[in-house]
């Protein structure tokens, strides 16, 4: 029977081995994903004008799929969030007589933070997961090799349209989401008979918005779109998948996309605080 000291030593060894394996896996992921992003960026820049008659329709298709088709869902969420969060916040502020802070609160919560993040998570859930499955099965059925055999760059044909499509979609849907949330929020307030004129509400919002907010939201949403597209495409294409690997790859891609989007968001918050 092993002594307690030997047992704890073994547990520690196993723990450090597990930490080591995780670290190696993370470094592999960073290297692989970094190389994938590098290659995709290169192809995006050098081949943007090449094969326009094939690739540009695919870009439009991906914008429609990740953006236009998600508009009803985004509108629903924007109205729900506007009523639940904004309506209650406005009602609370008016009760304590602090309605002059309404604009800054709305801009900070909805425009800078919740809008981009909720939209990105929605695109990830609806389109990102489908991307891993589509590309994973394309790899599984040998379509990627078939593209290469025909002299078609798989990154150009499969990845570039998705990166552009998802980036444009997250940006555009965020704009709709923010507008929908702010308008539906005020509609809820109006129904609650809070004494605030529409002109005062929108004047406060306009006062609270700075030009940096537009730049930040633009960069953040494009960044979210690029991150989600790169990570999901990477997991779909990076290695030959079997059918039973596809669900694992999808879960991994979703987890990593959420973590990296939140980290990117944190970087923007830090930048805002410092400036």
């Amino acid at each position: 029977m092993p002594s307690s000291a030997t047992l704890s030593g073994r547990i520690l060894d196993a723990y450090f081995a597990w930490i080591g394996r995780r670290m190696l896996a993370v470094s592999d992921l960073i290297l692989g994903l970094g190389a994938f992003v590098w290659i995709t960026t290169g192809v995006l820049i050098t081949r943007f004008r090449h094969a326009r008659s094939v690739v540009h329709p695919l870009i439009r298709l991906n914008v429609a799929r990740a953006g236009v088709r998600l508009l009803p869902m985004v509108t629903f969420l924007a109205v729900a969030l506007g009523m639940v969060v904004i309506g209650q916040t406005v009602a609370l502020l008016s009760r304590v007589g602090a309605t002059e802070f309404l604009g800054p609160v709305m801009v900070t919560v909805v425009v800078r933070e919740v809008g981009p993040l909720v939209t990105a998570l929605l695109v990830l859930a609806r389109v990102g997961t489908a991307t891993v499955i589509e590309l994973g099965s394309a790899r599984l059925f040998g379509e990627v090799e078939a593209l290469e055999a025909l002299g078609i760059d798989p990154i150009h044909y499969l990845v570039v349209p998705r990166v552009i499509g998802m980036s444009v979609a997250v940006f555009s849907l965020t704009v709709y989401f923010v507008l929908g949330a702010l308008i539906s929020g005020y509609a809820f307030v109006f129904l609650q008979e809070v004494p605030m004129q529409p002109a005062d509400y929108f004047h406060q919002l306009a006062q609270a918005l700075r030009w940096e907010d537009f730049v930040t939201v633009g960069l953040k949403t494009l960044g979210f779109g690029v991150l989600i597209a790169m990570i999901t495409c990477y997991h779909g294409l990076s290695q030959p998948l079997r059918l039973d690997d596809v669900s694992t790859a999808t879960l991994r891609a979703v987890g990593q996309s959420v973590v990296l989007c939140v980290l990117l968001d944190a970087c923007f918050i830090l930048f805002n605080l410092l400036t």
């Binding site: 094969a51 094939v54 379509e143 090799e145 078939a146 055999a149 025909l150 002299g151 078609i152």
Partner: protein, 287 residues
């Protein structure tokens, strides 16, 4: 590692004016794909494919046929050795040049040809054409219509691959490879899973391509085909150059020697093909 074989080509002294280099040259190429149990050794391939050649490579399943063609097409790297197209090693080509070269080396994959599932048959053909030549380049929809018609796929052009049987999927893959007017066509076991009437159509069609089809500018197309069953090809063995691929083995069959006279065990196995009748295609298109 077995010693390198002498370079194998029936046209080593060719004089067709197409240049001093073969279309494809595999020099000391090692392939370690053999999956047969207990025989996982490398075959070392020295192979030259000259313009107008009509090659048949016989090998048992799991001997590395697909890998041989993938390496020859520049889709995979060999374990060792060098593969070159028109005298230029693939390894020395830039990404753009390699991509361009792949349009000259057509590839037809086995078991349905790996068509793009979300596109119709016509779109499967139009996509590579438009990618390389623009919306109306390379002959456009008219040329695609001709290739579809010659391949017997005109009525099926609006179907997706999932709606076709393997026989017509395989034809569509052939048509997709031909639409780019390649210089050499590599076909991976094209007759596998086809019933005899389909196999007959394929052999006639490939013979026409090899002779030079009018609709392909009358230019004889260079062909390299792998197979695990030599029986359908027996009738025209005098027109073919035959090579045998096995574990640790790459050998060109002497053209003067009839196949059935060979005492080679691999050749006998390929001619007997396990004494099984040819399988029928599991799903035929209803059109």
């Amino acid at each position: 590692m077995p010693p390198p074989n002498p370079v194998s080509s029936p046209r080593n002294s060719h004089g067709d004016g197409a240049g001093d280099d073969p279309i494809l040259r595999l020099r000391n190429v090692a392939l370690s794909h053999a999956q047969r149990s207990g025989e996982g050794a490398c075959a070392t391939v020295n192979w030259e494919v000259w313009p107008g050649d009509y090659w048949l490579v016989g090998a048992l399943p799991g001997s590395g046929k697909s890998r041989l063609l993938a390496v020859a097409a520049g889709l995979e790297h060999p374990d060792q050795g060098e593969v070159s197209y028109r005298g230029k090693p693939y390894a020395s080509l830039s990404a753009d040049a390699l991509q361009q070269t792949r349009t000259r080396v057509g590839m037809v994959f086995e078991h349905g040809g790996r068509l793009f599932r979300e596109l119709t048959i016509e779109e499967n053909l139009l996509t590579p054409l438009r990618y390389h030549f623009g919306p109306n380049g390379g002959g456009g929809a008219g040329w695609v219509g001709t290739v579809l018609s010659k391949s017997g796929l005109e009525r099926l052009k609006d179907r997706r691959p999932a709606g076709l049987g393997i026989a017509y999927s395989q034809r569509a893959a052939l048509a997709r490879a031909l639409v780019l007017r390649p210089e050499v066509l590599l076909l991976d076991n094209p007759l596998a899973l086809l019933e005899s009437s389909q196999a007959h159509w394929w052999i006639e069609f490939l013979n026409e391509l090899s002779r030079g089809a009018d609709w392909l500018d009358g230019r004889p197309l260079t062909l390299a085909i792998t197979t695990d069953d030599l029986r359908p090809w027996r009738q025209q063995q005098s027109d073919l150059s035959l090579a045998l691929l096995g574990p640790s083995r790459w050998e060109v069959h002497s053209s003067g020697n009839p196949w059935s006279n060979s005492e080679d065990r691999l050749m006998q196995e390929l001619l007997v093909a396990n004494l099984q009748p040819r399988q029928s295609a599991p799903r035929e298109a209803s059109a």
